[in-house]
């Protein structure tokens, strides 16, 4: 698979179809990958595709296309971000070539909690999860534990915007209903919910890793940085943090494709995906659209229908 990926990347670069291939290279540890901008055939040789390739590389597109057409390695879920960027005119279709990789699911680092990370030699896919090789042997981890939660509920096939497909998508049968976490949360009373977020937002240090890792957060100037307007100060008290995260959630309403990068990037373990998942569910329920599917569709909150649900319908 990696050979194919590298060949394809080299071909794209050599033929001049793109100036850059954004993909993954081996990270600083066997359970880590790092994003790579490959611009030469030699650099393309460094591309990898393995269970550590968790990042949603679409986040780089709005900047990268400024230097001309780029190719980007995407998982089917990441491709939804590309669709959103196209829909919102952040990138032109002609400037992006998507290289879709067949994805069995990617690594949840939490799965390695019991493994001595300093001793890990490699992380590979198996038929049913991953195999971790350490200095003292091999550990097999079943996919229920090995993969990110989003992978366990994923049933995506190849996206429509796939320009290059590196093999067939494995048939994925979701082992978890993605709505489950939301439904689980919604068993809480209003007070418990407020306490839940008070607890989590108290941890937030406002490093903005969530925002920076989000392909949807491409604003030139975030509301949180607008000092003149002062919607939100940088104080890290739970209420101010609530305001920041709630506003960010609303700004992503109908646009969040649930890649979970915000939550992965968060150094403080705030379950930010819950907000995105809820928005996704509500948008589908009320407006019958799913973000990330149709690049021609109008943005959910930038459009309307006369028959939209009404808070106080006329008799």
């Amino acid at each position: 698979m990696e050979k194919e990926l590298r060949d394809k990347a080299r071909e794209l670069l050599e033929s001049g179809q793109v100036g850059t291939v954004i993909g993954y290279e081996a990270g600083s540890a066997p359970f880590k990958c790092a994003p790579l901008y490959a611009r030469t055939p030699e650099e393309a040789e460094r591309l990898v595709w393995n269970p550590t390739c968790v990042n949603n590389l679409a986040v780089y597109l709005p900047q990268a296309v400024k230097q001309g057409p780029v190719a980007v390695v995407v998982k089917p879920c990441d491709a939804k971000s590309v669709v959103e960027l196209l829909k919102e005119n952040q990138v032109e279709r002609d400037d992006v070539k998507t290289i879709v990789v067949p994805c069995p699911g990617v690594l949840n680092l939490d799965a390695l909690a019991d493994v001595d990370l300093s001793d890990v030699r490699s992380v590979e896919w198996t038929d049913d999860g991953i195999k971790v090789t350490t200095g003292s042997g091999e550990v097999s981890i079943p996919k229920e534990k090995a993969f990110l939660p989003k992978c366990l509920s994923c049933a995506l096939g190849d996206p429509e915007i796939a320009d290059i497909k590196l093999g067939e998508q494995p048939v994925r049968t979701p082992v978890v209903d993605s709505k489950m976490s939301v439904e689980e949360y919604e068993k809480l009373s209003p007070l418990e919910r407020r306490e839940f977020w008070a607890k989590h937002f108290a941890k937030c240090i406002r490093c903005y890793a969530c925002r920076q890792a989000c392909p949807g957060c491409y604003c030139k100037e975030c509301f949180a940085d607008k000092l003149g307007q002062m919607w939100v100060t940088r104080s890290t008290d739970p209420t101010t943090n609530w305001f920041f995260h709630m506003t960010r959630a609303m700004h992503l309403a109908g646009r969040c494709i649930g890649c979970g990068e915000c939550e992965r990037a968060c150094p403080m373990g705030i379950p930010l995906s819950l907000l995105g998942k809820k928005l996704e569910m509500e948008v589908e329920d009320m407006f019958e659209t799913r973000p990330g599917e149709d690049a021609e569709a109008l943005p959910v909150l930038g459009s309307w229908k006369a028959e939209d649900p009404d808070p106080c319908p006329e008799e």
Partner: protein
């Protein structure tokens, strides 16, 4: 109308009086609901004086941040109201508002803010009576819930 002009009004909430009274803020569309409020006043209809009114050009101007700011700053209830669907002065501002506010309403609820603290309604310039009723009803609804303890309280 700038964001700052709106926030200034949101932020001038006075300190709580000794006897607790619900503090409510209303974002009212200039063309319909605000005129409806005017009509209620000039028709000498009685309704509770708990609401501070912020006039906005259109319900479509209501950014969810206005509502969040109000809750963050400790208002006990927030009302948003504009022209009926189809009657928008700007043709479709309230349709955009409807989607945004509906979604926002559900998110507030998701975060544990009691849904009864936020009300969204259509009130036209002719509906002075309805305006008085909505304010009355909403104020009582918020009164029953008691003081708002904050978004994370």
């Amino acid at each position: 109308m700038s964001d700052t002009a709106v926030t200034e009004q949101v932020e001038t909430k006075e300190t709580k009086p000794k006897e607790w009274e619900p503090k409510i803020i209303g974002f009212l569309c200039n063309w319909c609901t605000y005129a409806g409020a005017d009509l209620a006043g000039s028709s000498r209809l009685k309704y509770p004086p708990n609401m501070r009114v912020v006039k906005v050009p259109c319900s479509g101007r209501v950014d969810p941040q206005f509502v969040m700011k109000a809750f963050e700053r400790g208002f006990d209830g927030v009302l948003v109201s504009g022209c009926h669907p189809g009657d928008c002065h700007y043709a479709k501002g309230n349709y955009y508002a409807r989607r945004r506010i509906m979604l926002f309403q559900r998110m507030l609820q998701f975060m544990g803010i009691e849904p009864e603290r936020f009300h969204f309604d259509w009130i036209s310039a002719a509906e002075g009576q309805k305006f008085a009723e909505v304010v009355e009803q909403f104020t009582e609804q918020v009164r029953k819930l008691g003081p708002f303890k904050g978004v994370t309280g």
